[in-house]
Structures are given as structure tokens and as C-alpha cells.
Symmetry: C2
Subunit: 318 residues, 2 copies
């Protein structure tokens, strides 16, 4: 109902009388008043002038579930959204929800995380109202070893969404860092619950620095605000991101991993570079020549031999 009230208030910029709104939505004046109070508590600046009625002056900078759902226009992603002002970790909740059978497309959003997680037990700094911190449950019919394609798909989707909304040109550092001007703006953590021959579900975690101020970021990190020089509307960006993920997911189902890999290649900052990759207490240096359909990086060593690395941390050389 709150969504409908906002929808209605959004339409005109003039005052709408309480009678008009409540009769249009088929609720009592009393119920309307209660909803308006709740919306005001949530940060919506709704002014009420006697004899004139209500007017929506401004919206809070929040990624409320109903704001994200409105006009999202996806087939299955975000049909169910869990929203929290803060959460220990969206991943923890998503993995729990997955085990309880939540549908593919279920989305967990938090305005901040106290224990935001990154790859390999690292943390993700998640200051309140500044970023997009989400975990998305997917239930692809793939084998566990094929799961890295979902991380590549997510990286591609993040780049596409950022480019559409901000006109910035992000690139991907293998396997899953999204960079703008060589600084990290987003990270992806993909976790799965799987048997040897069946992925039960996957949770894709995305942390995206949107409106973080420069001074709150470490040297290797950046935010869209810093790069674009202006505040970015998180709801619009998030919606675009969800649509891109869904489109790319359908593309994967339709055309296979190759179609995702092609997009990934065109966005890659790593391919063609001289790199050093740290993985499992080892490292390897050479030229990053390509990635496989399973996301494996192919490195040509000085000896000419090609070595495959399935994951690790990359350092790019000039």
C-alpha cells in the first residue's frame, strides 16, 4: 500500500487531498494518515497542508525493497527482496535462505554491513547508505566446476550497469575486480552449496562503492561518485544491475558460457598484460593470453609454456 501511495504522490507535483488519495486507493483517511506517518518516519519528506492535502517533496537516499521493485521489470531476479538497514553480512543471510529453499532470484539488500565479506575470508568495507551491498540467490543447473562463469557474468553485468547509468568505463581485473582508472570500485564473492555433481544454489555477493567520499577510501579503491564527480542514484543503478544480471543469465542459458566470455574479454584489463598471479601460496609471472570458458586464466610463461590458473590475485605490470 505504501508503494501505491508513493506511486500516486509521485505522479503530480501538486497537492493531493487526503480524500482524493484515500478514495483512489480504497482505504480510510485514518489508514492513509498512518501510512503517511510511516513513510515520513522512513525519511520521505511529505508535507501536509490543511485544505490542500499531501505533497511528496523528496525521497530519502535509501534502496528500500519497494523502491527497487518498482519499475524493475525483471522476470525472476528481485521478485523477492529482503532489505535491511544493517546486516552482519548479506552473504550469510543469502546462504541461509538458500538452504531454506528460497527461489532463484531472491535478493538480499543491506544499507550497511558490519561484517561484509570478500573473497578468501577478506572483509568488505560497507559504510551506511554509501554503497550497494547485495547477495543474490541463483539456482543454475550447472556442475560445481562451472560456477566461476557466474562470477564473470556478474563482473560483466556490473560494468554494463555502471556504464549505462554513469557513462564511466569500468574494466575487469581477472577474476572479479571491477576497476575504474585502475582503482577498485566493486568486488564479487560467489559462494555455492553443492554436491559433487550438482550445484544446489549459488549466492553472488556484490559490493559496489557508489557514493563513498574520496577521503573514506583506501588508495587502491574508488567510488562512482569520485569518478563521476557527482552523487549517483543508487536505486537506478541497482535496478540496472539486476536487469543486466538477468539478461546475461538468460544469455548464458541460451548461448552458453562463450557468449559471457566474449563480453568479459572486451572488458578485461588483464588480457594482453604482463602479470604476476598469486595463488595458493605460489605465484606465476607471464603474459595473460586468454581465459577459458570455465574462467581459467591462461598465462604464457617466459619459456613459452602456457599455464592455467583457476583463481588467484593478479598484479598488472605496465
Amino acid at each position: 500500500m505504501k508503494e501505491k501511495i508513493l506511486e500516486y504522490l509521485n505522479k503530480g507535483h501538486d497537492y493531493l487531498s487526503g480524500d482524493q488519495i484515500s478514495s483512489h486507493l480504497g482505504i480510510s483517511r485514518q489508514a492513509l494518515w498512518k501510512h503517511i506517518q510511516d513513510l515520513k518516519d522512513a525519511g520521505y519528506d511529505i508535507v501536509a497542508v490543511p485544505h490542500l492535502g499531501y505533497r511528496l517533496e523528496s525521497k530519502p537516499d535509501r534502496i528500500f525493497a519497494f523502491e527497487v521493485a518498482r519499475g524493475l521489470n525483471t522476470k525472476f531476479i528481485g521478485k523477492k527482496i529482503y532489505y535491511f538497514d544493517y546486516l552482519a553480512s548479506t552473504m550469510d543471510l543469502a546462504m541461509q535462505l538458500g538452504m531454506r529453499g528460497s527461489a532463484g532470484g531472491t535478493l538480499v539488500l543491506a544499507e550497511s554491513q558490519t561484517k561484509g565479506r570478500g573473497r578468501l575470508g577478506r572483509s568488505w568495507f560497507s559504510p551506511k547508505y554509501k554503497g550497494i551491498y547485495l547477495s543474490l540467490i541463483l539456482r543454475p543447473e550447472i556442475l560445481p566446476q562451472a560456477s566461476p562463469i557466474l562470477t564473470l557474468l556478474s563482473a560483466v553485468s556490473i560494468c554494463e550497469a555502471i556504464k549505462t547509468i554513469t557513462a564511466l568505463e569500468p574494466q575487469i581485473k581477472w577474476p572479479n575486480d571491477v576497476l575504474i582508472h585502475n582503482k577498485k570500485v566493486a568486488g564479487i564473492l560467489t559462494e555455492m552449496n553443492a554436491e559433487a555433481d550438482k550445484v544446489n544454489f549459488v549466492a553472488i555477493g556484490i559490493g559496489l562503492n557508489v557514493n563513498n567520499d574520496k577521503k573514506s577510501l583506501i588508495a587502491q579503491a574508488t567510488s562512482l561518485k569520485e569518478q563521476a564527480g557527482a552523487q549517483v542514484a543508487r536505486v537506478l543503478l541497482l535496478q540496472e544491475l539486476l536487469r543486466r544480471i538477468e539478461n546475461n543469465y538468460f544469455l548464458l542459458e541460451d548461448k552458453g558460457a562463450r557468449a559471457i566470455i566474449e563480453k568479459w574479454r572486451s572488458l578485461s584489463l588483464t588480457l594482453g598484460r604482463h602479470v604476476k598471479v598469486y595463488y595458493q601460496h605460489k605465484h606465476i609471472e607471464g603474459s595473460a593470453v586468454d581465459i577459458d570458458e570455465d574462467g581459467t586464466l591462461l598465462i604464457r610463461k617466459p619459456s613459452g609454456l602456457i599455464q592455467k590458473v583457476s583463481s588467484g590475485d593478479v598484479v598488472h605490470f605496465r
Copy 2:
């Protein structure tokens, strides 16, 4: 304390006076009486004769945590045991515990399961007090694609434990069915929680038909009781199984997958046979020539080509 009381009662076959027991254990007569009542409620037949004292006549057929822990003598497996009279699924709980950070070696036992799970969403019939239904949390430092070795390791351990306790000679049908005289006596389900390049934890689920009566079993299944012609002590079998798993786990860490594969080969019913393997809506027929270190089955097709199958359901031909 209950464990200590039982330990003490177990020692002699004569009556032990309440004074003797309580002073030995440093508890009050009143506390002792309460513990004895609890033990009787749990099915321990403890007779109390005035002026003589207590005597343990018989134990219930239960796999109580403290019975399993007593004399288990493992380094890390079963150091923490969760025991339930019934549970929906030991796997569900183990996966939950894993996510909450339970240590490797943590064991979940149930006397019965209402929704016992098998591979690929199949169910495991878990009648009360008849079988061993367990899930074991392990935290190996391996990549997700290496996880099938843990299933092979479990199958080997089950065979070894059965052989030690019953002198029966079980064999393994690839990948993870334990058979006696071509009938299934145990199944294994391995689930993992993982990132692309890190297994967070694995839960190994084992369902073992121990004292099931022939008439309660489907045609392709059997129990140790049916095969051995006598009731099998579940606690002893379970303890042996846990020790075998731990030994083989250390062997894997020490000598690598090859050492486990070697044992597996010698127990395999599949290798050298003409088989048909059903996998992911496909099937392949040929001669099962070997398995890889990652558990992949190698099948020589009539054309002479070798094909690898990472998992599926095998039909053996004569």
C-alpha cells in the same frame, strides 16, 4: 557425569553401593540418584537393591554421544557430537553448523531421520534405531573440484569399518555406493560450501543399514544384520567408522589422493566391468578401466576411445 557413573558401573559386575559410587565421583547421594533416574529414563537397565546398591544390567541400543565418545580415541573427529532421537536431516543441521563455524570433526548423529537425504535430491530411508545416520563436518584445504576424493575416502572407510567389525567384505560401486553381495548397504552424500577457489567446509553424510530387517528393505538393498545373520553393535561400528575416516583423512593429507585411490581400487566392484553410466540426462556404455585422482571414472567405449565421467549412476553388466 552420567558418563562417569556408567564407566564406574561398567567396571564390576557386582553391586556397587550408592555411598561407594558417590564418594568415588565426589557427588551427593541425591545427585547420584537423579543421574541414575535419568539413565534409566534413557533406557539403561540399572537395578537398585536396598543395602546392596546399583548394578548395570543392560544398555539400550542407542548411539548416545557419550557412548560414542567413550574410548573413541580420535584426534579431531567426533570431539564434538550432536545427538538426536530424530532429526529431519543430519545434513541440513551439519550445513547449518558449518556456516556457524563449527570445527572440522564435528559430528551430527540421529537415531532416525524424517527427511534423510541422498544424492541428487533422493531420499534415504532412516528407520529408528536400525541404522547409522551421520553427517560429519570437515574443513579440508582443497579446491572445490578436489572434493570428490572425500566421497571416495568415505566409501573406503565404510568398507574398512564393516570388514573389521563384521568380517563381511563390502565393495564399492562407483562413485559412492557400498554394496555387499551386490546389494546396497550404505550411501554417501557429500555437500560443500565453497568459493571458486576455496572449500569453506564439507559435510559428509553417511547412511548405513545396520540392523534393518530383511522385510523392511527394498530388493536392491541389504543390511549388515541380514548379511551377517546377527545384530551388529552400532556404537562399535560407528566408532570404528570414525577412526577409519580420520586415519584415511590423515593419509590423504600425508600422501595425497593417490593413497586413497589405491585403496578404493582394491575395493571397487566397478573397475574392469562392462558398465552403463547415466549422467545429466545422457548415458555412456563401455568398459570401466580406471578412476582418476579426482574420482573421475574412465570408460573405454567400443570405439576404443576413453571418456571421462565425473559422476552419475552406474549399472554393472555381468
